[in-house]
Subunit: 287 residues, 2 copies
């Protein structure tokens, strides 16, 4: 296994950044892994769990790294890059693990222009938990890792990042950054917003019915709303940074809801059966 990097610095040590570090170690990455986080407890915990070798609340720790990976909520990328900029070595590549790409990738490139190549990345993996204490072994094994190059992307840097993720067991998918945001608005951001919203609705219905509905749920509901336990700050940032695409996906979803509502209003048994059958067939196509 070729690793290409000697020291990797993770900026933002939460569940994803921490799992990235852990799985580098588990796969035999021979170099050093450091982290920066505004929360000193995350750093302490990361060292205690042997997920990272060392860490700091100061961005200067990144100066010896030849790979810097942003793993903060996407809303603070700009601020974080400005703070870390003075410490980026001239051998370093910068990459990220965020759920929004599009304009953000171009903004990162702009801030890093003349300093370091930037390679946008997004691992399609995670859990509803957060924090380095919830790191997951083999989280990226068999998962897709989306790389979103632009016309400016350094191809050699991109190949090194792709190779790193292949070493973690991921399948590399290359995608235009703007297309990425339309795709994940649909398959990830929309479901999360819907899950939070259904919990909100059931809370309102609990009050209307004077019944704690959350105590009367079954396994279907629990799986369905598991993602509503995801990190609110991370999802706030995703909603704002991918606003237009998410609103467009929500509009399409509302049309589907209105369609099924009309079928129920009319007690249209054939229409309902065929709507459900078609959805079941599509869902069954998911591996």
């Amino acid at each position: 296994m070729e690793w290409n990097f000697k020291e990797i610095c993770i900026v933002g040590l939460g569940l994803i950044g921490g799992s990235f570090a852990l799985n580098l170690k588990l796969r035999g990455f021979p170099g050093k892994i450091t982290a920066v986080d505004i929360n000193p407890e995350a750093i302490e915990k990361g060292i205690e769990l042997e997920v990272i070798d060392s860490g700091s609340i100061k961005h200067s720790i990144a100066e010896s790294a030849d790979l810097i990976v942003l793993s903060t909520p996407v809303g603070v990328y700009e601020e974080v890059l400005k703070q870390i900029k003075p410490f980026i070595s001239n051998r370093a590549i910068v990459s990220d693990l965020g759920s929004v790409k599009g304009h953000l990738v171009y903004r990162c490139e702009e801030i890093l222009k003349g300093i370091a190549p930037f390679v946008g990345g997004h691992p399609i993996a995670g859990t509803e938990k957060s924090g380095v204490e919830n790191v997951v072994e083999n989280l990226f094994e068999g998962a897709k890792f989306i790389i979103t190059p632009t016309e400016n992307t350094d191809r050699e840097a991109m190949e090194k990042i792709a190779n790193l993720w292949r070493n973690l067991g991921s399948e590399i998918v290359v995608m235009d950054p703007y297309h990425h945001d339309r795709v994940f608005a649909a398959v990830s951001h929309l479901p999360h917003v819907v899950a939070y919203s259904i919990v909100d609705a059931i809370d309102k219905l609990s009050k209307e019915l004077s019944t704690n509905l959350f105590q009367l749920t079954g396994g279907g509901f629990r799986d369905f709303t598991r993602i509503a336990m995801s990190d609110p700050v991370m999802w706030r940032d995703i909603c704002i940074e991918n606003r237009e695409n998410l609103l467009s996906a929500l509009k399409t979803f509302r049309e589907s809801i209105e369609k099924v509502e009309k079928l129920i209003e009319k007690s249209d048994g054939n229409g309902l059966k065929s709507f459900f059958e078609k959805a079941r067939e599509k869902r069954r196509s998911v591996k």
Copy 2:
């Protein structure tokens, strides 16, 4: 363990009816278990899997049973009861496992008046699969079993049904039939309709983006939409039989969606964070 019944006949041998039979056997029910199904293959499969002792496509098999349990889609209860009526013994109790109660319980009581006591029941358990070939061991262990008595319900019959489900490991919850339908419109019927609808929306978005979005989903999406693989006929009937309550739950849900849409439109970070935090807290209260 006291069983109270000597012969139980299950009408409609699918995943729920079949799992009921299987778990009766696993818990040591010493009597006979029979089934009626319009599909002879379900009966054959049930016998082959040793889930039932015997079965038939003819309702006359119910004549020696002292408990008859409806486990068909709720839309055919009336027809099924009319067909089985001539064969109901004067010692028998009739119960059911359907997801809609309310007016249906009263309709069953009316059809069975002077023939047998009816006890409405609803096990809060299931999977997205269907068919007797997918029976699940211990499906009802630790699950709630809702009993929905009316002012006409025979209390002795009800106590026997409650005892039977306690023997299967379920926790008995007694609820007014109409209240049941409002509760389950919210916590079960709404999530199912939403799951089918989001799959419909993602299918439309796949076409818009010329990308098979179903191939780009992660674990969150898979869990979120698992219930969209549930049986279309069962869900068609539930939607129609619980129409008013479901439409009312859908209206409340659309208000939640519209609320979050407005927050996203305004890029209201604080509003989004607090919406997500509140939902996360509520969801975390689910055991």
